[in-house]
Amino acid sequence: MKNRPLYLLLLVVLFLALGLSRAYAGQAPDIMINTDGQSLHLSDLRGEVIYLDFWASWCVPCRESFPWMNEMEKKYADKGFKVIAINLDEDKSLADAFLTRYSASFKVGFDASGRSAELFRVQGMPSSYLIDRQGNVVSSHIGFRQKDMQQLEAGIKSLITR
């Protein structure tokens, strides 16, 4: 085994490479959610099923996702389900303009620094993460299309009834 250092190096690089390129899984990072006027930790919402969505005003599919997220929260709110949407615009006025056009009945947080997206390793806009009552990221989804709705709702349903 004179090649042991080489093997070790190989393993480390492989793990790094896989880790960097994979979507987030496991315990959800405890990000700060700064809404207009209040701030809370993601962990404060433990015990609820959470659909965490990262969006921006310039993101076209996000326009489609907003009515759907409104509908989902309305439909499943009494079963302990919450939608949290984190805005990642650098310029908050753009986000506010978006919100007047596409109203949100769910909680919207603002993170101009993009730190929360960094922690969740967001790989596309919009990105959504389904978090169970124990705070684990169960599934993640990149983009938003009409045909995704059913699958996403099925994911929500399965977590609520669990």
């Binding site: 190096l9 190989l10 790094l16």
Partner: protein
């Protein structure tokens, strides 16, 4: 020896595949890039008319996706 080569091969492949996944502009930093004026063809009608002129008057086809012509009659 062959093992070493194999290891190096796997190493370089994995680095090439994953190495670029965390570089450059982050997905949430694309607001300026998403603007209309940053697109290759921001004004569709303008480029359609330009195309037509090239095709009709100068007989240049291809390159911008139009085919045929050059008779100046279209």
């Amino acid at each position: 020896m062959t093992l070493k080569v194999l290891c190096l091969g796997i190493l370089s492949v994995s680095v090439t595949l994953a190495g670029c996944s965390s570089m450059g502009v982050k997905p949430w930093e694309r607001s300026h890039l998403a603007q209309n004026k940053m697109q290759l063809e921001p004004y569709k009608l303008d480029s359609f008319l330009d195309d037509h002129i090239y095709f009709s008057k100068e007989g240049s086809s291809g390159g911008r996706g139009a085919g045929g012509g050059g008779c100046g009659c279209n």
